[in-house]
């Protein structure tokens, strides 16, 4: 009897189509139906780096030295200095030393200062301490000092000690006196000084 028309070969022919299709379906479930993995976006970002420390360029422990025409030596150091645009530099904890050829000097310390290149001045704020080699120790709130010559003016009242005793004044100016070129301190707007005689 004639074998029935190749049942076996017909099944194999169908299997040759069905089996690859099944494989395809299985393979696609791997990608299309996979679980949603969590977002990559909220990765923890280091808070410290987000601060402004990184955002602007600044100089650590800057040191500036210069000599004026009349031979006074000026040196300035600070903990940090950062440019603030149009030729302005903001320095923290500024320490300036104005030294005259004859050796007398004036030390200025300020919490922070804005050094302006345009008119060569440094505006010191946040409490300024002025010390002179002749024994004056004065404190004031703000002081505007030139950096290419010895000239400074306090923004408000100043008080402190000197060889003459404790002193308070409404305003103070430091400049070089024209006759002998020495450093002159001018206290104005009311001066009060208490001197205790030494026996």
């Amino acid at each position: 009897m004639v074998r029935r028309i190749g049942l076996y070969s017909r099944v194999i022919a169908w299997l040759k189509i069905l089996l690859p299709l099944a494989a395809l379906v299985l393979l696609s479930t791997l990608f299309l139906l996979s679980r949603s993995t969590e977002q990559v976006l909220d990765m923890p970002f280091a808070e410290a780096l987000r601060g402004e420390g990184i955002a602007r360029e600044h100089v650590g422990a800057p040191y500036y030295a210069g000599t004026t025409e009349s031979g006074d030596m000026l040196t300035m150091t600070a903990t940090s200095a950062a440019p603030e645009g149009e030729g302005q530099i903001r320095a923290e904890d500024l320490a300036a030393r104005l030294r005259k050829p004859d050796g007398s000097e004036i030390l200025l310390n300020a919490a922070h200062a804005t050094v302006r290149d345009s008119d060569q001045t440094a505006l010191m704020e946040g409490g300024v301490r002025i010390e002179s080699s002749s024994g004056y120790v004065l404190n004031t709130q703000t002081l505007n000092s030139a950096i290419n010559r010895i000239e400074a003016e306090s923004g408000g009242p100043v008080q402190g000690d000197g060889p003459l005793g404790t002193i308070e004044a409404g305003k103070m100016r430091i400049e070089t006196s024209d006759e002998d070129g020495g450093v002159q301190l001018l206290f104005t707007e009311g001066v009060k000084l208490v001197y205790t005689p030494k026996d």
Binding site: L164, G181, V183, Q184, T188, V191, K192, V194, Y195, P197
Partner: protein, 142 residues
């Protein structure tokens, strides 16, 4: 010839603190001087010395004032005594005030004028010299 006058109430402790108030002060560090200008008032104990201009000469080394030169019309007031002159030199350490230039000293009712007067702050004595003139007011009601 000189006249000794009791400047009674001027006797005082010359080591009391000296307070100086003025409109302006110019300190010249090299010269070691400080120039007070603009109604300067120097107060020590109950003595007050007022002048438009006072130059203070100090020695930086020992940090003490050597002398004060008040010029431009000086008035010295102490207790009820008052003295006026063109100029006064006040030596704190020595405790003396030397007033010169038509000195006028008023003590209560009496007034004395002279060219020069040296006041010793410790003893309270004033020594006037140079054309001393005394104007004594007779006591009223005698």
């Amino acid at each position: 010839q000189g006249t000794d006058v009791k400047f009674g109430s001027l006797k005082q402790d010359t080591s009391a603190p000296v307070e100086v108030t003025a409109d302006a002060l110019a300190v010249n560090q090299n010269a070691g001087t400080a120039l007070y200008t603009g109604n300067v008032v120097i107060i020590q104990g109950d003595m007050r010395l007022a002048a438009p201009r006072v130059l203070v000469v100090y020695s930086e080394a020992q940090g003490r004032i050597e002398r004060m030169e008040a010029t431009g019309g000086v008035t010295l007031v102490s207790g009820e005594e008052a003295a006026e002159a063109e100029r006064a030199d006040y030596d704190i350490e020595g405790g003396t005030v030397v007033m010169s230039g038509n000195v006028l000293l008023t003590q209560g009712q009496n007034a004395l004028t002279s060219e020069k007067m040296v006041v010793n702050l410790e003893s309270g004595a004033a020594q006037m010299s140079g054309r001393v003139k005394t104007i004594l007011q007779p006591e009223k009601g005698q």
